[in-house]
């Protein structure tokens, strides 16, 4: 799997993502620069976490207008796979490659804690490493992760099975109004979604931070395994 990681000024989880891709796929990802105007041949483009442009206007807004995003859009339109994690998810919504928006956490505070995610579908490359209904642990670290979308958009996401991950209890219980279970206040406890063709995925928590047994946990590995299985020709 040839993966490219986009670096925006202010990106800060690119090394984490590279480490995860390297560990699971056995291949070194290439680093792409926000001003690049062409992509090399790739199977996967990743928009990693961080604070692109400081997130000074809205999280992801300035990143979404970077030159490279034209290429990412073209890559996606041609059927390419794009993963956005945290700031990457925010950039994908700002670029309208995924619907909805990520607002300030309901608690008004940055949240850095472990959460549990329920896998809501297993047909995409991002989710096939699990079974539907599986629950896994992932750290979150964001100030703006409160997923918001218009009612018709939510209906479509749910109807088309495009909610990939939801915040849940370890036993799989979901309760969108309980701040303990849905810490940032996302609508329908949504933590990650897919595009219509299932090839673009955005999620707030960081599975890339739980892939190394030496650091004590491997809960995030299935996401990357699934990708490798899907994308290695």
């Amino acid at each position: 799997m040839k993966a490219g990681i986009v670096l925006f000024p202010g990106t800060n989880r690119e090394r984490d993502m590279a480490q995860a891709l390297r560990l699971v796929s056995g291949r070194e990802p290439v680093m792409l620069w926000h001003r690049d105007t062409a992509l090399p041949s790739l199977d996967l483009v990743v928009l990693p976490g961080g604070f692109s442009f400081g997130d000074y206007l809205r999280s992801g807004a300035m990143g979404a207008h970077s030159p490279i995003m034209r290429e990412v859009r073209a890559f996606a339109e041609a059927g390419g796979h794009v993963l956005g994690v945290c700031n990457g998810f925010q950039i994908l919504t700002e670029a309208q490659l995924l619907p909805g928006a990520l607002l300030r956490n309901a608690s008004m505070r940055f949240l850095s804690q472990d959460c549990h995610l329920k896998v809501e579908n297993n047909i995409s490359p991002y989710t096939r490493g699990w079974s539907k209904g599986d629950v896994f642990r992932a750290p979150m670290a964001h100030g703006d992760g409160n997923y918001n979308a218009a009612p018709d958009v939510l209906d479509r996401l749910e109807g088309e099975g495009r909610v990939a991950f939801r915040y849940a209890e370890a036993n799989g219980a979901v309760d969108a109004v309980d701040p303990a279970l849905n810490p940032n206040g996302s609508m329908q406890a949504i933590a990650g979604i897919l595009s219509e063709n299932g090839r673009i995925c955005g999620l707030m928590p960081h599975p890339e931070n739980l892939v190394d047994p030496d650091l004590g946990a491997t809960d995030g590995v299935p996401l990357f395994k699934g990708l490798v299985e899907s994308l290695v020709a």
């Binding site: 807004a61 700002e94 607002l103 300030r104």
Partner: protein, 81 residues
Amino acid sequence: MKVRVNVMLKEGVLDPQGKAIGHALDVLGFHGLGEVRMGKVIEIEVPAQKSQDEAASLGEAMARELLANLVIEDFTVEVLS
């Protein structure tokens, strides 16, 4: 010459910041307030030789392209001098 772009969350989009501020104001003793909403204001100095209208439409263009996220936000543009 300055253009001021005001960006507010759309009516109907929950505004957690506004809500938190409303709560804090109440705790401080400002009771009986209605809805509180919080937005952003961006003031941009534009070249002086622009007309009012040109400046306004420049502001509008900047708002559409970057300053507001039309999925969740509305904006207004004022020209100051």
